[in-house]
Amino acid sequence: MNVSREDILKVASLSKLELAEAEFEVVASKFRNVLAFVEQLNEVDTTGVEEMAHPVDVHTVTRSDTLQESLDHDVALSNAPKSDGEFFLVPPVLG
């Protein structure tokens, strides 16, 4: 599979990754390796095989609409890089 420079830059930007020029070739070669690995699946003949949404043949796993305890407020915020004890704080977001 041919992957262009633009493809890689697009995926990087969608993933919010900033690629320095020096890193580009390293990432690009890893990226192509992954694709080549997955591409092996194309060798399997899947003619007539029904498409599956999930690898295991299990369906309709549900729970009842019953309240479960939420995390304590301070525990919920404890992993946040920044908080004011009430909210998670993040760098300013414009609208």
Binding site: K10, S13, L14, K16, A53, H54, P55, V56, V58, H59, T60, V61, T62, R63, S64, D65, T66, L67, Q68, E69, S70, L71, H73, A76, L77, N79, K82, D84, E86, F87, F88, L89, V90, P91, P92, V93, L94, G95
Partner: protein, 490 residues
């Protein structure tokens, strides 16, 4: 009628918060207004290692809604990840449904705003389940302080109902939304509270402009931030005017520009271009490996069919066709909600005349509810009691004026109609008494009688006051009718 040099084309995407106790994929509460970040757990915070489990109630409510919207319900439906980065979406993706939504094509008929006795139809593309995001609060003044994130809402179940672009005016869009909200509250699937964000609408708007026998379409604009029905109507009107002016200036058509997103500024009354995030439309949907598909069984469908109940349009139709109400009156009662229809039905079931019941409910009951800020469930006069009162009026046991006094009395006292009449000193006058009264009036007022016999219909009116002076309980209508009869027989 449409005098504009273009046809307006509008489709609506409506997000409805489903009335579940807990979130779509975890057991956290969905209650509105809790202190920030107190209704969160590892699942809705997107902490590593946590796994979502589907809430069966959300599925049931989605199926019920789909059935009421005449949708084809999927036999198998699945979950997909919609990937984007935003601070109020902790996982970095929203669990939604991409290519196998739970509800497929359907439609909704709604009262035509231009011809209220007929309906318009909007076709629906689909309705799918998804989880809500959290809430961000930004530093509006300077834009420099940190943004605050509250994740209580994260994971709340939403049903997104997407219409075809079948709506041809701002008024039609509002009317569709009004009917949809009414239906959803009848179904009990959502409280549809717009202030609390339980019902949110985005509008896709463009114009078809006839030029030399061909239709030219303007670029499609998605208008967001529509927080009220009024906002929906105003934003669409504004957007139509704006697009037409822009087309006259630039000539740009749907082929020249991709779909644009604009936000409605309610205060300024304008739509404003929203900053386009690069590649924002590329959500890279893929099936969520943490969730297995859902099979909708016959049992699940019939369970919901049983609880569908009467839709607003069916109720309107029944009130008109079976009970003889005018379309306007039927609509007023139905629009008040299911409890009001039940109250009306209760009054009629008690034997009162449907039209009189409708008048009294629209005037006296609804006015009292409004003045006292009550719901019909809290109304002090039961349907059976009001029915008893209206039957008394139907049977001329009391006249309308006396009926209003009894109504006022019943608001304060739990009493039967005879007890209320006794307490108010209202005595039903028997017919022989009325006859004597009328004979006296005729004897005492020869001049008026002469005028009445000469054909002056108004002349008798002056005798009604005189009759009430002689006997306060005399029914004006009965007196008038008897007087007329006696004069005619002279």
């Amino acid at each position: 009628m449409n005098q504009t040099p273009y046809r307006l084309v509008v489709g609506l995407e409506v997000h409805v918060q489903l009335s579940t106790e807990t979130k779509l994929f975890c057991g956290c509460s969905t209650t509105f207004g809790a202190p920030p970040n107190t209704q969160v757990c590892p699942v809705c915070l997107g902490l590593p290692g946590s796994l979502p489990v589907l809430n069966e109630k959300a599925v049931q409510l989605a199926i019920r809604t789909g059935l009421a919207l005449n949708c084809k319900i999927a036999e198998v439906t699945k979950w997909d990840r919609k990937n984007y980065f935003y601070p109020d979406l902790p996982k970095g993706y929203q669990i939604s449904q991409f290519d196998q939504p739970i509800c497929g094509e359907g439609y909704l008929d709604f009262p035509d705003p231009d011809a209220p006795e007929t309906t318009q139809r909007v076709r629906l593309i689909r309705a799918h389940l998804e989880e809500d995001a959290g809430k961000s609060m930004h530093d509006e003044v300077h834009g420099r302080a940190d943004s605050k994130i509250d994740l209580n809402r994260t994971g709340t179940p939403l049903l997104e109902i997407v219409s075809f672009p079948d709506l041809t005016s701002a008024a039609a869009a509002k009317a569709y939304l009004t009917e949809l909200r009414l239906l959803l509250t009848y179904l009990g699937v959502s409280d549809c509270n717009m202030q609390e964000g339980s019902l949110r609408a985005d509008a896709n708007v463009n114009l078809h402009i006839p030029v030399d026998g061909n239709d030219i379409a303007t670029p499609i604009v998605e208008v967001k931030n529509l927080n009220s029905f009024r906002a929906v109507e105003r934003a669409i009107q504004y957007e139509a005017g704006r697009q037409f002016e822009l087309w006259k200036q630039t000539g740009k058509t749907i082929k020249d520009a991709p779909k644009q997103t604009r936000g409605w500024d309610d205060e300024a009354g304008v739509t404003k271009a929203q900053r386009e995030k690069e590649e924002s439309a590329d959500y890279r949907y893929f099936p969520d490996p943490d969730l297995v598909p859902l099979r909708v069984t016959e049992a699940m469908l019939s369970q919901q069919k049983v609880v569908l109940g009467e839709s607003p349009s069916a109720a309107r139709n029944r009130l008109q066709v079976n009970l003889g109400l005018k379309p306007y009156d039927a609509d007023v009662i139905v629009s008040q909600g299911q409890s009001m229809v039940a109250y009306f039905d209760g009054v009629v079931a008690g034997g009162a005349d449907p039209k009189r019941s409708s008048n009294w409910i629209q005037q006296d009951v609804m006015r009292t509810l409004k003045e006292n800020d009550l719901s019909v469930e809290q109304f002090p006069i039961s349907a059976a009691r009001l029915s008893e009162l209206l039957r008394a009026i139907d049977a001329s046991v009391v006249d309308n004026t006396r009926g209003k006094s009894i109504f006022q009395y019943l608001l304060e006292h739990d009493a039967t109609i005879p007890d209320a009449m006794a307490a108010l000193g209202i005595v039903q006058v028997d017919s022989s008494e009325i006859e004597t009264l009328c004979k006296e009036l005729i004897d005492e007022n020869p001049k008026v009688i002469a005028e009445a016999r000469a054909g002056n219909a108004k002349a008798l009116g002056s005798l009604i006051g005189a009759a009430r002076k002689k006997n306060a309980n005399a029914d004006a209508k009965v007196v008038r009718e008897l007087l007329q009869k006696m004069i005619d027989a002279m």
